[in-house]
């Protein structure tokens, strides 16, 4: 008797899953973007406390506490019965950087949501994805009162590698967000190794 054996025919084909990261500075509109296009669900993660949390988390009197709860949410788009896309907003605060590796593991790509009034907030995310060769694009979120910026200027300001798309975005509008995600996946396809002819 072998309980480890799993009869694949006993269930329908397992669903394929994919994920896209939504990065950007605090207040750039990540949650707005995710909720504009997907069913949003709460998630708790219990993370190891690192020294980066010291001074922010009050750890006095709980010397042996080594984990802290991080509340976040994620978006789910059921595309077909056997295909689901997940959207994960990356935690904006610097002390949650250690979660990015986990979130980016196996990701199709990433959207860096930028606010032209605070472009410097996007540097860290751009650097992270460039270093790890994760396909990404920069989506410039339209904030009321923010100056309209030429995509080329944004590319220069962020010192993007040639070929990194910069697209306009209204994180509140489903169609706009859809367009951004379509652009990202198309970009990822151009980066995908071509099968030998």
């Amino acid at each position: 008797m072998d309980y480890r054996h799993f009869d694949r025919d006993a269930v329908n084909a397992p669903p394929a899953t994919a994920k896209i990261l939504i990065a950007g500075g605090f207040g750039a509109g990540k949650t707005t973007l995710v909720s504009a296009i997907s069913e949003i669900r709460p998630l708790r993660t219990e993370e190891e406390l690192t020294d980066r949390g010291v001074g922010i988390d009050d750890v006095s009197g709980v010397d042996r506490k080594t984990t802290t709860t991080v509340a976040m949410d994620f978006g789910r788009i059921t595309m077909r019965a056997d295909l689901t896309l997940y959207l994960f907003g990356t935690p904006g605060q610097e002390r949650f950087w250690f979660m990015w590796d986990e979130l980016s593991y196996g990701a199709i790509g990433a959207v860096v949501l930028a606010d032209t009034r605070r472009l410097a907030d996007s540097f860290a995310a751009v650097d992270y994805f460039e270093t790890r060769s994760i396909p990404f694009l920069v989506a410039v979120n339209r904030f009321d009162g923010a100056p309209v910026t030429d995509p080329e200027d944004v590319a220069i300001a962020l010192d993007l590698l040639p070929g990194t798309p910069v697209v306009p975005c209204d994180a509140r509008q489903r169609e706009s967000v859809k367009g951004v995600l379509v652009s990202l996946v198309k970009h990822a396809l151009t980066r995908s190794p071509q099968p030998a002819a």
Binding site: Y3, R4, F6, D7, A10, V11, N12, P14, P15, A16, T17, A18, K19, I37, R41, P42, L43, R44, T45, E46, E47, E48, T66, T67, T69, F74, R76, I77, M79, R80, L83, T84, L85, Y86, F88, E102, L103, Y105, G106, A107, I108, R132, S133, I134, R174, K178, L181, V182, V185, K186, A188, L189, S192, P193, P195
Partner: protein, 124 residues
């Protein structure tokens, strides 16, 4: 008189048992492969005899994955932190009660998956 809204009741007050109490202090699975956030898991038929030592939370998780489900959805459904779910899934997998169907590791370069996602997005 304090306003009732200042008080937290039931689930809003948070878990009574600290999350890692249900894993007996373990923060990572005892063995087995890395379990990713969007990996799909499914209960693998009847509970084996060695399943007798599984706790209440193990069984609760197993109830939630009678159909294939991703680790994040499972954590959200069960209202448990992902780290805890991962440890419990490791236990379930080890005793044969669960099948972990891993997603592709590392960067996704599967052109077919990308095309499927592209078509799916365009059809929204």
């Amino acid at each position: 008189m304090s306003a009732p809204k200042d008080r937290w009741f039931d689930r809003e007050a948070g878990p009574i048992v600290r999350p890692y109490a249900v894993t007996r202090g373990r923060t990572t699975p005892d063995s087995g492969p890395y379990i990713g956030l969007i990996d799909v898991v499914v209960a693998a038929g009847p509970l084996p005899p060695s399943g007798g030592r599984l706790g209440r939370e193990h069984r609760r998780l197993l109830d939630h994955c009678q159909q294939p489900v991703t680790v994040v959805d499972l954590a959200s459904d069960a209202d448990l932190p992902v780290g805890v779910v991962r440890v419990l899934l490791g236990d379930l997998s080890e005793c044969g009660a669960l099948q972990i169907i891993s997603s592709p590791p590392g960067r996704v370069t599967n052109e077919r998956l990308l095309r499927d996602v592209l078509n799916g997005l365009q059809a929204l």
